[in-house]
Amino acid sequence: MKTFIKAASIFALVGVVALSPYNAEAATADGSVGTSSTGTVDVTVTVAENFRITGLAAFAFGTRNIGDGDADSNDDVCIFHNGDGSYKVNITDDSTGGTGAGFNVENAGDSAVISYNVFFNDVTGTVGEAAITDGTNSAAQSGANTASQTCGGGNSANIHVVIPGANLDAAAAGAYDSELTIVVDAD
C-alpha cells in the first residue's frame, strides 16, 4: 500500500493594509521660466499586506506493511509576511468528506480512506507543534520572515504529518493519496 500526500503551495492574501495619508504633500508642480527651472512630481504606491508559504515538499511514505508503525514525516517551510511576522494557518485536504471531515488519504476509487493527523509549528522542527483540525483556523502564529519571501533560503515553520500505524494496519491494500492546502493569512 502506498500513501502519498501532496502539500499545495498557497499564496494567501488578505486585506489591504489600512491606508494612511501619504506623507508627501500634493506637490506636483510645473517650473517657472528662469535661468533654471525646477518641476516637482509626487510618486506614491501602496504595498498590500502579503503572505507567502514556500519550501513545501511532498510527504511520500512509500509502501507500508503491517507492523511498520506510524508513517511519520515533517517538513520545514518558509512563511513570509511583509508586516509584523504574525499569521494564522488554515489547513484542509481534498478528501471526499470535504472540509471538516478530517484528514484522510483515499484510494484511487475514493472507496477506502485512511485518516491521518496534521501538526503545525511556527518554528522549524516539531518541538512545540500543535495539532491542526481540518478547516479550522490555527491559533495565532508568529515568527514569519518579514524580509524575504523565501526566508533567504532558510525556513520559519514546520508541517508534520502522521498516519497512525493502527490505521495503516487496518486499511485495505492499495495506494492512497491526498492533497493538503495550507492557507496563510492575517491572524
Partner: protein, 186 residues
C-alpha cells in the same frame, strides 16, 4: 598684476624683466589649462531662460504579490527662450533614510522602497537611467516656441520603475516621494 611695459621696450627687455615675463606667462598658461579642464567636464550653462512643465504625479495604486514591476511614464515639456535647444537635468528626491538614492518612504519614515528614474529627451517611453543628484548633461530638443509646449508638442519623458523584487520584500504600507527636476540650459 602684469608688469606694465611699452611696445618699445618689449623688443629688448632687461634680463630681470624677462624673468618676470616668463613667470607671468607660466601663470597665464596654468590658468588657461584649468579653464580647459572645466570646459571639458561639464558643458557651460547658457544665459537663456528655460522652463520645465507638464508635470504629472505618478500614482501607482496598490501592489499585491504577483503584480509584477510597476512602470509609468510622463511626457514633459522643456522650453528655452532662445534658438538653442540643449539643456541638462538634475533629479533628486526628498528621501531621508538613504538620501543619496531614489527611495520612497512610508508615513513614519521607517521603511523605504527603491525606485528607478529615467529621463528621455524625446517624448518616448524609457530613457537614460538617472543617478540621484547627478546632472544628466547633453540633452537636446527643447521646445523654443512655447513655454508650455502647446505649440510644437512635449519634448521629453520621465519614467519611474519599481521592481517586483523590491515591492515583494517591502513592508506593507503606503510609500511616497517627491521628485525635483532641475532643468538648466547648456
Amino acid at each position: 598684476m602684469l608688469p606694465h611695459r611699452s611696445r618699445r621696450t618689449q623688443d629688448a627687455l632687461p634680463e630681470e624683466q624677462q624673468d618676470t615675463m616668463a613667470h607671468w606667462t607660466r601663470h597665464i598658461l596654468h590658468i588657461t589649462f584649468i579653464g580647459a579642464v572645466t570646459l571639458a567636464s561639464a558643458p557651460p550653462l547658457s544665459y537663456a531662460d528655460i522652463r520645465i512643465s507638464s508635470m504629472n504625479a505618478f500614482s501607482f495604486g496598490t501592489w499585491t504579490n504577483g503584480d509584477g514591476d510597476l512602470t509609468s511614464n510622463d511626457r514633459t515639456c522643456i522650453y528655452r527662450d532662445d534658438a538653442g535647444s540643449d539643456y541638462r537635468v538634475t533629479i533628486t528626491d526628498d528621501s531621508t533614510i538613504t538620501a543619496s538614492a531614489f527611495r520612497m518612504q512610508d508615513v513614519p519614515n521607517t521603511s523605504e522602497l527603491a525606485y528607478e528614474v529615467r529621463w528621455n529627451d524625446t517624448a518616448a517611453d524609457g530613457g537614460t537611467v538617472v543617478t540621484d543628484g547627478t546632472a544628466l548633461t547633453g540633452q537636446s530638443g527643447a521646445n523654443t516656441s512655447s513655454s508650455d509646449c502647446s505649440t510644437g508638442g512635449v519634448t521629453s519623458n520621465i519614467q519611474i520603475r519599481i521592481t517586483s523584487a523590491d515591492l515583494g520584500s517591502a513592508t506593507a504600507g503606503s510609500y511616497s516621494a517627491e521628485i525635483s527636476i532641475l532643468a538648466e540650459p547648456e
